[in-house]
């Protein structure tokens, strides 16, 4: 069935279909609508979730951690500074191996304060032990949220999942999307029946110890192994989801990559713009292609290297700065992935769109123009640049 929904409404609707046990709710732009829609579902008796409207994001994540440890399926939504306020607890959630699902509606971090889209919020949380899945559009935001629990709750994974979508661009724009029937969703998600939980009568559980050096590292390695195991599980869940939805998902999406010589690596809604540019360039005979990263954690390094192996020049497009003085976070991951190739393409990083600055088809075409020049001359030029940066004189 086709419906016109914003990204936020689509995710809230997915939550309604799941009917989770507990929601930790706190408003922050642009994710606020998710707890708002969900509060209506609660008020109208359409779900029987315990809705806990807390006094901060720190507490919404604390509630989710405790509830999930107690044996309840828990969800929450946040953005930007809200995610930053949760950072300490993101690590706690992952290390306690609690498969919480968080709808992250990406927004630039302060300061200066800015409410529009970039990935500085979730990129800051990339090493927290959460699985991160990014949506290009409303349909993917809905689908990814439905796939989050079957991924995270698997016994050999048991990690929290951040289902991300672009603030405003995806969260607030209305698109036609296909929704699944609620019965099909419930069958797909299944019951949450953890082996151990605080409220289990037969066997009390202690969670969150003081962990000393002889044990801490073993626990961290187990967490790392779980993240490795998540990769196969994400693909299994995607295959099962395809059976009920007809929609195919992988660790990333390859667009016109079969014979591509020039390629982009990027995430989220910019992929739509990039696909339009690529279609235009293909008409002109340019062998342009795109790899849209869907799963950033676990990072599909080996798979990405295979996908880019035949290319001559690649531009990574980072929609977050990172301040490493050496390129953005997606660039760092892509560099790492390509290092193992015997013959590597030229690689550049273009940081763009910070704080919601628009990126247009012609901007993407310019990037391909530069890649074509690199491929022709063998000269990479500046490796790490900022797209559309105005001079001080222009700004004044």
């Amino acid at each position: 069935m086709s419906h016109r929904l914003s990204g936020n409404e689509a995710v809230a609707y997915a939550m309604k279909q799941i009917n989770p046990d507990v929601m930790g709710a706190f408003p922050i732009t642009p994710s606020t609508e998710i707890p708002e829609y969900f509060a209506d579902y609660v008020a109208n008796g359409e779900v029987n979730t315990e809705y806990v409207a807390v006094e901060s994001e720190h507490s919404s994540m604390s509630v989710c951690i405790a509830a999930q440890a107690a044996g309840a399926r828990s969800v929450c939504a946040t953005s930007s500074c809200g995610l930053a306020l949760m950072y300490e607890l993101l690590y706690v959630a992952a290390s306690c191996r609690l498969p919480i699902t968080l709808a992250c509606v990406n927004r630039a971090l302060s300061g200066p304060i800015n409410i529009n889209h970039d990935y500085s919020d979730s990129m800051g949380a990339r090493d927290s032990g959460w699985i991160q899945i990014y949506a290009e559009n409303n349909q993917e935001a809905y689908d990814n949220f439905l796939m989050a629990m079957p991924i995270g709750e698997t016994p050999n994974v048991r990690l929290p999942v951040m289902a991300c979508m672009d603030g405003f661009i995806t969260s607030h724009a209305v698109e036609n999307i296909e929704l699944l029937e609620t019965d099909a969703v419930r069958r797909f998600i299944g019951e949450y029946n953890p082996e151990h939980y605080l409220l289990k009568k037969e066997n009390p559980l202690a969670v969150g110890p003081y962990d000393i050096s002889p044990y801490y590292m073993e626990h961290k390695v187990l967490e790392a192994e779980a993240m490795k195991a998540a990769k196969a599980r994400i693909l299994e869940v995607a295959a099962a989801f395809e059976k009920i939805s007809g929609r195919h998902y992988g660790l990333f999406e390859e667009y016109r990559m079969e014979d591509a010589e020039l390629a982009l690596v990027l995430m989220g809604s910019t992929a739509g713009t990039a696909k339009a540019a690529i279609d235009k360039l293909r008409e002109d005979g340019v062998k342009a292609g795109l790899v849209k990263i869907r799963v950033f954690r676990p990072f599909p390094g080996e798979e990405l290297a295979r996908a880019l192996a035949g290319t001559r020049a690649v531009a990574v497009m980072d929609k977050s700065e990172g301040f490493s003085a050496n390129g953005g976070p997606l660039f760092a991951e892509t560099c790492g992935a390509l290092y193992g190739l015997k013959e590597r393409p030229h690689l550049i990083d273009i940081v763009y769109g910070l704080g919601g600055r628009d990126v247009r088809v012609e901007d993407i075409e310019k990037v391909f123009g530069r890649l074509a020049n690199i491929a022709a001359t063998g000269e990479t030029g500046p490796v790490y640049v900022h797209m559309g940066q105005r001079s001080r004189e222009e700004i004044a």
Binding site: V22, T49, S62, V63, C64, L89, K200, G208
Partner: protein, 312 residues
Amino acid sequence: MSTVYNLKREVEKPARLTGGHRLCAGCGAGVVVAGVLRALNNEDRAVVVNATSCLEVSTFMYPYTAYMDSFIHSAFENSAATCSGVEAAYNALQRRGKVDGTVKFITFAGDGGTYDIGFQSLSGAMERGHDMVYVCYDNEAYMNTGIQRSSSTPRFARTTTSPVGSVGQGKKQNKKDLTEILVAHNIPYVAQTAPLGNFKDLHSKSYKAIYTEGPCFLNILSPCPRGWDYPMAKLAEITKLAVDTCVWPLFEVEEGVWHLSYTPKKKLPVEEFLRPQGRFRHMFQPGNEWMIAEAQAYVDQKWERLLERTGA
């Protein structure tokens, strides 16, 4: 529970905080926690929550836990939110027929985790009305990190961040009145108690807090031999002096009605409480008599106000 308190019968209950934890000898925290948990009916389960604290690192060092009940620790400043999350899960799972039996939710946090960094989380949980008990074991400084001042540290107390020197005279500010702030939350039950004598006061207040529906708060004085600098054998004596000098009055507020639990037969001068403790040693130097006078005046003022409120 029989209405007549009997210490012997109470201590014969199976312990819910077992021995072998790593708290210091002479620490009030273990005594407080054991005393509160003893008020649970034998047939009832509990989930115990800890803020990061001396208590947490001493009672749940992997792979050993000192608690017989389920337990969760998450972070320093979120123990009240954590407890509310467990309670929310219980409500949800009970509604869906996935959990049965009585389960009580009890949080323990130090004064740093309560008066300071956990204050917002505590206020939020109390306002939301979760059916839980929040216990502050108040040892009047950040003891787990090595004796730093908190907003609970009393005026003049020496800590590593309110030291005594040629100019500094210990903490400059008076102790925050957290119990009163919790009363202002209009929750069903707020009480102040201490591990005193035969533990009747601590026990009966714990029982009321645990078995009163809704959010309840206990502020329990918990002397610390390291931070307060007293000989570890003197825990009971120091506690008694805190109460008999009216530095730490025992009272409770049920549905907004104040009640004084204990009036000393003879209200002792505050210096009786201050003298045995190294953290107040500088107050007894010649020329510093004004400090004791001001400490006394502050205690007297607070005590008079409490007497007015309780109608005692």
